[in-house]
Structures are given as C-alpha cells and as structure tokens.
C-alpha cells in the first residue's frame, strides 16, 4: 500500500489522508484516474514491482486498490515459488 501511495504521489496526485483503502476505485468514480492514466499506472507499476500487469486487470470490474495490491502479492508469491 505504501508503495502504491508513493507511485500515485509521484505520477498523478498525492492521496488525501485515509483516502487509499482496499475498495477505492482508482478510476474516475474514485481516485479520479482516466482510462489513459489507469494504463500509465499499470506501466509504472510494472517497472516498480517488476511483474506484468496485464490488460485483463480491467476485465473484472473497476480497478481498485485492493485488486492491484492482491495482484502484486500473487505475482510475488508465484515468483518466490521454485
């Protein structure tokens, strides 16, 4: 979550205190990113977390903080397995 806060602050806008929570939609009805900014967030996250963020992340409803964090955890778990 702290890393996501850092990415959002450096590339888009600084989240207000308490704004970032699991259910927050990062899109226009929540944090306020438009479709191009949402894609840029995935690109920046790919560089930062060193794992792919596929377009299918957009296929299951709004992209929330919780889904992004869960994706990173899942990728790291898969990475750490022999």
């Amino acid at each position: 979550m702290a890393e996501l806060h850092q990415i959002l602050s450096s590339r888009f806008r600084t989240p207000r205190p308490g704004e970032l929570h699991e259910d927050l939609d990062l899109g226009s009805s929540g944090f306020g990113l438009d479709s191009i900014s949402l894609t840029e967030l995935l690109i920046v996250s790919e560089d930062h977390f060193r794992c792919p963020f596929p377009y299918t992340l957009f296929d299951d409803g709004p992209l929330t903080v919780g889904r992004l964090v869960a994706h990173v955890r899942e990728a790291r778990r898969a990475d750490s397995q022999p």
Binding site: G27, S35, I36, L38, I43, G61, P62
Partner: protein, 303 residues
C-alpha cells in the same frame, strides 16, 4: 466550449452519444440492410448505386449537407463548387454506410478487394516492422477502408477502435492492449476524432477550436512510436484509394512536459488534417461538418 454533444469540443472522458430516436435507428438499419443486399450481388456496383442515390437525395434536399453549410465551413470555395461538394459529401455518407454494414456483416475481405495503395514506397515503409508505428485515422473519406486496407497484410495489426467503446474500463483495457501490441512490433491503428475517449487540449483545424482523442499521442509519448496519418478515399469507380501522409513531426520529448508533448503532436496532427480537408473538402463526413460548424471559431478566423 459551445456544445456538450459535439465530440470535437468535449474535453472530458466522453462516452458515445445516444444513437438518436427509434425512427432514425430503423432508417439506418433499413439503409444498411439494403446496402448489404445490393453488395451481395456486386460490391462496386452497389457502392456506385448508393453514391448516385446520395447525390440525387442531396440535390433534392433530402440528404444533408446544404450548400450553405458547406459554404459556412469552406468559405473560400467558389460558389459554383458548393453544390458539387455538398452532393459528394452526401454520396460519401451512403457509400460509408454500406462499408460499415459490410464490416459489421463480417465482409471486410470484400472491401479489401477494392483497395488500391497510391504510394508503394510509403506502403513499404508502413510495413517495415523495425519501426514502431501508430496509424492515425480520422472520420474522413472511406474511413472503414483503413481496416480493409490492412486486412490480410503481412504485418500484424491492432485496431484500437473504429467501433464504439462503451466505457472507461473498456478503453483502458484497449489502450493497454495497444501498448502491448506496439511493443510486440504490431501496427496500431488509433482514431483521432469522433466520440468516446479522452480529449487533447484545444487545437485548431479549419479555423475552429476542436479537440482530438488523446490515445495516439499518449501511445507515441509512452512508446516512442511515430504517428503516421492514413486516409482512404472512394474513387470514381468505387475503389478505395489509400493515402499515407508523412509522419507527424515529433517534438523533443526531453524538453517537454508530458501534456505539452502530446499537445504539440496533436497540434501537428490538426495541421495535417486541416491541409487535407482544405485540399479535399468533399472528403469530410456530414456529421463532422456539422460538429465543426458548432465548434468555436479561432480568433484568427477561418483563414
């Protein structure tokens, strides 16, 4: 901004407008069904027939645009040319309805057989897989000809959209796929105008303040791809002439803020479109003509 329904002036993320009243949708379906029925017999003949019908309907004031609408946007045209241009725009409209109906009917290959490339050297350059390329399309001329022209080529093509994307999530997904396609060496086709998507800052075209869709410019910024405008035009024999313009001049990315880089590229694209439509006023779509007329005039006027 004068008209919230006008996609050439909307500056927020916009969805496609309401398709209009039921009678209009029924008329459209009837027109499409007729076009497909005619095209099953012989596509070029069907297109020629529809073109003639469009001219006749415009001459009889059944189908827009009027000569006064043409004169309002292309005010430098001689009076004697206005009627001819208006009739050509109406003919273009009906031919394009047929092309759209064919694509939606899964018959892009039929359209592809009509394609003629006007410049082999530029075609070869476009197919050069070593260059990351975004093809910029606009709603002018035989717009769906671009899909037909790229049908069955050796280089993989990703059509970002020439049909409606309903919401921001679909567009974000599409944009990410386009990015991945560019990185994989595919040609990506992005549409610069029309409804749906996020807008650039204001640019000037035909003496009007308009906005373009940001997708192509954002892709160029994020991937370093060049933007090559491609248009298609119907020929007198109902063939599709593919026209490839030189790449839009790319500003030095290191010296520009993100938004300024995209704005400079958008301004360059608008200059290209301005030049194209001044040379070929009969290639403008009737809906685009109306949207330009509803857009604010630039202080310099429509010089």
């Amino acid at each position: 901004m004068t008209n919230a329904a006008n996609p050439l002036v909307r500056d927020a993320e916009a969805d496609w407008p309401d398709p209009g009243p039921a009678w209009k949708q029924r008329a459209r379906h009837l027109c499409d069904a007729t076009a497909i029925r005619l095209a099953r017999a012989h596509v070029p003949s069907a297109l020629a027939l529809l073109g003639a019908a469009g001219r006749a309907a415009n001459f009889s004031n059944i189908l827009s645009p009027s000569t006064s609408e043409v004169a309002a946007l292309f005010h430098w045209l001689p009076r004697g040319d206005l009627g001819r241009v208006a009739r050509s725009i109406a003919a273009l409209h009906l031919k394009n309805r047929a092309a759209i109906a064919l694509v939606q009917d899964g018959r892009t290959a039929d359209l592809a057989r009509l394609v003629r490339w006007s410049d082999d050297a530029r075609r070869a350059d476009l197919m050069d897989g070593s260059q990351s390329t975004v093809i910029a399309a606009c709603h002018v001329g035989a717009f769906f000809g671009i899909r037909a022209a790229l049908h069955g080529l050796n280089r993989p093509v990703f059509m970002m959209r020439d049909l409606a994307m309903p919401d921001a999530a679909s567009r974000a997904s599409l944009f990410k796929r386009a990015l991945e396609a560019l990185r994989a060496g595919e040609l990506v086709v992005a549409t610069l105008d029309g409804p749906g998507g996020i807008s650039t800052r204001e640019v000037t075209c035909l003496g009007r303040h308009i906005v373009l869709r940001r997708g192509a410019f954002a892709l160029a910024r994020m991937t370093g791809a060049r933007i090559v405008p491609v248009t298609c035009a119907w020929t007198r024999r109902s063939r599709i002439d593919v026209r490839i313009a030189p790449p839009i001049n790319r500003p030095d990315q290191a010296n520009h803020a993100l938004a300024d880089f995209e704005h400079e590229m958008a301004a360059g694209a608008a200059r290209w479109l301005d030049g194209y439509l001044r040379a070929e006023p009969h290639e403008i779509w009737p809906s685009t003509l109306r949207n330009y007329l509803a857009a604010p005039q630039s202080p310099q006027g429509a010089s």
